[in-house]
């Protein structure tokens, strides 16, 4: 074996879990963590699943660990918020078989709602954190994480960031090592976290963290690269690569474990260099702890807490200029948009026409916030759209929400939206909730969920019927509408927002990018009939462009023939033809 291949950071993490003998993995998709589970599912030896949310995923991993197997849970940074309830107490129980939680941070917000730093949560939960800086380390650190987990009886977090997760570099493959399951023994003081047990476990947690901190100075992945001593850097993860790129001759303390910190190693390193920089993306987690040791450093006064770092950022701080030769040319922005043939566009075009505000959620449909559709007014977190609508009604009365709805995707609804809906039923809401059911988890690249009828491994399974689910929790009025049937949708939305009955409208149509979708037709615009009114352009479909003479042209390679533009043309200028 020992073949060397290039792998995505996430693919390497999956490989590491496979090689480490992981038996059970559970996750909810979230950029930039999704590809870990997708790649892990390819190995028959590992049971891999999509859970409805990250809390469930972590609890599955905890159960597998206590039963004695090596287990894994994967999520994005905000997913850890959902999973933080089991997380904090998992630190107390410790593990049976080794357990690792991969958490992917998103500095620069490539696809997220905030830039929170997982290391802060890990510190408060007293869980060790490893942070790799390329795919090779990603694989190796996963394996090391299981050793640490079992040696110190603790869950371990492997923290990645977008650049690491979505970069490819060389990885040398090793064989899987089958690890013998730990033998389960009933242990109430370890696994039943009631006060009398937990009080003792808290002391165990403190002791463990002290031991880890001591041992961290001798840990090989906390590495000193001694060179010129005028400048020294303490850094970790992808930021290490930028330091090496810009200052190959500087001394570096590269931290592979970023919680707890190796205090002795840091003190020794600091003594040897004249100026010490802490180069870490997001929060000053390392910096504040190093300052607390009484060491003088340069950190966030030089480097921002916001966004991704780069070599040029470091060059600008150190040398006052970056490597650019040419001036940037001012260019119109190209923000992400809903795809041609996207069913969300159809629903939003109706809401836009009716001047209805939407309490939104997390998914592709968040893009309904921007022009020209501009119907989403709020987005906070998964599931929040429904509960926030309820809060508005309770604050301002039922008439206030007569021009509001909540919109949420099918996968997000099953994630945490269903809890919010139960609250609406229980506390007598009169609101309207639209479930945008496109039969997939769209934004993250089409993952199965509990209502698609397929598992992550591609096996057939029970598909939850969303309308039955909504009725069973007590929603009095549940309506299923074809998302592209604009006339029915308009009538349905109008009626339900004006009524005092809690209504769920399930707007169904598959995601245009879903595998196996066929698009036999395209829309064409007859420029003779086109009156240049621009109505069709208001739906914001990228396949449509306004030509120099004001008429509309439809790009045949982009158009998926959904016919939404046709529904809005009053002059019959647009028609559907066979491809």
């Amino acid at each position: 074996m020992n073949e060397t291949v290039i792998m995505l950071g996430n693919e390497a993490i999956a490989r590491g879990a496979y090689e480490a003998g992981v038996k059970v993995s559970s996750a909810y998709p979230g950029t930039p963590s999704t590809e870990i589970s997708e790649n892990l599912a390819k190995y028959d030896a590992v049971y891999t699943e999509w859970a409805p949310n990250e809390k469930v995923a972590l609890e599955v991993a905890i159960g597998a660990s206590i039963a004695g197997a090596r287990s894994l849970a994967c999520m994005k940074h905000v997913g850890l918020n959902v999973a933080s309830d089991p997380l904090y107490t998992f630190a107390y129980t410790g593990v049976g078989g080794g357990s690792v939680i991969v958490v992917a941070d998103d500095p620069g917000l490539a696809s997220s709602q905030n830039e929170q730093d997982t290391r802060m949560i890990a510190r408060s939960a007293h869980i060790p954190v490893l942070e790799p800086s390329d795919s090779k380390e990603a694989k190796e650190f996963v394996k090391l994480a299981y050793e640490i987990s079992e040696k110190y009886d603790t869950p371990v977090i492997l923290r990645t960031t977008t650049k690491l997760a979505h970069s490819q570099s060389a990885v040398t493959l090793c064989d899987r090592v089958e690890v013998a399951d730990k033998v389960y023994e009933r242990n109430v003081s370890k696994y039943v976290m009631m006060p009398a047990s937990a009080i003792g476990r808290h002391l165990v947690v403190e002791d463990r963290e002290n031991r880890l901190s001591e041992d961290a100075s001798a840990l090989a992945i906390n590495r000193v690269e001694m060179a010129d001593t005028k400048i020294g850097f303490i850094t970790s993860g992808i930021a290490y690569q930028y330091v090496k790129e810009v200052c190959p001759d500087a001394s570096v303390l590269k931290l592979g474990m970023v919680n707890p910190l190796p205090k002795k190693l840091i003190e020794e390193f600091a003594k040897k260099v004249d100026t010490l920089y802490i180069f870490e993306e997001l929060e000053p987690v390392i910096e504040e702890q190093v300052r607390a040791l009484g060491i003088s450093v340069k950190g966030k006064e030089c480097f921002t807490k916001q966004g991704e770092y780069s070599a040029n950022l470091l060059r600008r701080v150190l040398y006052g200029k970056d490597g650019a030769t040419f001036e940037r040319i001012d260019t119109p922005n190209r923000p992400p948009i809903l795809c041609p043939g996207c069913p969300h566009r159809s629903v939003f075009s109706v809401l836009n026409k009716l001047k209805i505000h939407a309490s939104g959620d997390i998914g592709c449909y968040t893009l309904g916030a921007v022009a020209p559709l501009g119907v989403i007014d709020t987005t906070v977190c998964m599931g929040a759209g429904i509960s926030m609508l309820h809060g508005m009604e309770k604050a301002m009365g039922k008439d206030y929400i007569k021009n509001w709805v909540a919109v949420i995707g099918d996968s997000t609804f099953l994630h945490t939206g269903v809890n919010s809906l139960i609250n609406l039923v229980y506390n007598k809401s009169t609101g309207t909730v639209i479930i945008l059911d496109n039969r997939t988890t769209g934004m993250t690249g089409h993952q199965e969920h509990a209502a698609t009828g397929k598992t992550l491994k591609g096996e057939d399974t029970y598909a939850i019927d969303l309308s039955v689910l909504c009725r069973s929790v007590g929603v009095p009025n549940v309506l299923v509408v074809d998302a592209f049937d604009v006339a029915t949708l308009e009538k349905t939305v109008k009626e339900s927002v004006s009524s005092d009955t809690l209504t769920v409208i399930i707007a169904k149509a598959p995601c245009a990018l879903l595998k196996g979708q066929k698009f036999p037709n395209v829309c064409v615009c007859d420029t003779e009939k086109c009156k240049k009114c621009g109505m069709c352009l208001k739906i914001g479909c990228p396949a449509l462009t306004k030509q120099a003479d004001g008429t509309v042209k439809i790009d045949e390679t982009m158009c998926n023939g959904c016919g939404l533009c046709m529904s809005y043309c009053k002059f019959g200028a647009i028609s559907k033809v066979g491809r």
């Binding site: 992808i238 040419f326 352009l537």
Partner: protein, 189 residues
């Protein structure tokens, strides 16, 4: 020596496959390779950029302003957006295609006229109508292979190595068509 390649375009144009073929070709030549990709929300019709870096020892996975040896742009506006990433003597390959961003569709912004001419004043620019060639070959989906073939001459490596990696990377059913498309870009233009 590190070589820095950027592939820029509009989400959905399939730039990921192009960067992977370049990366695999460099890996086959025994070099260290790093590739950086964009996933998630940005892919939905937004401006998308991927990076390939290779050489003896490569640290960061991204190409930064002033470092690009070759930029392959699948759309004109995206060529303009990233042109300042070029090195002084860097090469810009442009697929002659226009996709209006939503800001232009709704009339908030104008699509700039004469992008190619403007870029030619400062940079070495090579233009190819990849879509026309792909359509002539009978499938618009091989656009990427046509453009990559055209760019390959400016990147380096021998023709056989390229053909090997194209063969190993594209979906099995499409190998012949993609090889033909690559060669059309490599030799035909």
């Amino acid at each position: 020596m590190i070589k820095n390649i950027m592939i820029v375009g509009v989400g959905g144009q399939g730039t990921l496959l192009t960067s992977r073929i370049i990366g695999k070709t460099a890996l086959a030549a025994g070099l260290e390779v790093k590739i950086s990709e964009v996933h998630g929300m940005a892919q939905r019709g937004g401006s998308v950029v991927t990076f390939v870096r290779y050489g003896e020892r490569v640290y960061e996975p991204v190409v930064e302003e002033g470092e690009a040896d070759v930029i392959i742009a699948f759309e004109r506006l995206e060529a303009q957006r990233y042109a300042h990433f070029l090195k002084k003597d860097g090469v810009l390959i442009v697929n002659d295609c226009r996709i209006d961003p939503m800001t232009v569709v709704i009339g908030a912004k104008q699509y700039p006229e004469g992008i190619i001419e403007t870029l030619k004043k400062k940079h070495s620019v090579y233009v190819i109508d990849g879509m026309q060639i792909a359509k002539d070959l009978g499938n618009s989906k091989v656009l990427n292979s046509v453009v990559l073939g055209y760019a390959a001459k400016h990147i380096g490596f021998d023709k056989e190595s390229w053909l090997e990696t194209v063969k190993a990377t594209v979906p099995p059913k499409t190998v012949d068509l993609n090889l033909k498309a690559f060669l059309e870009g490599y030799e035909g233009v």
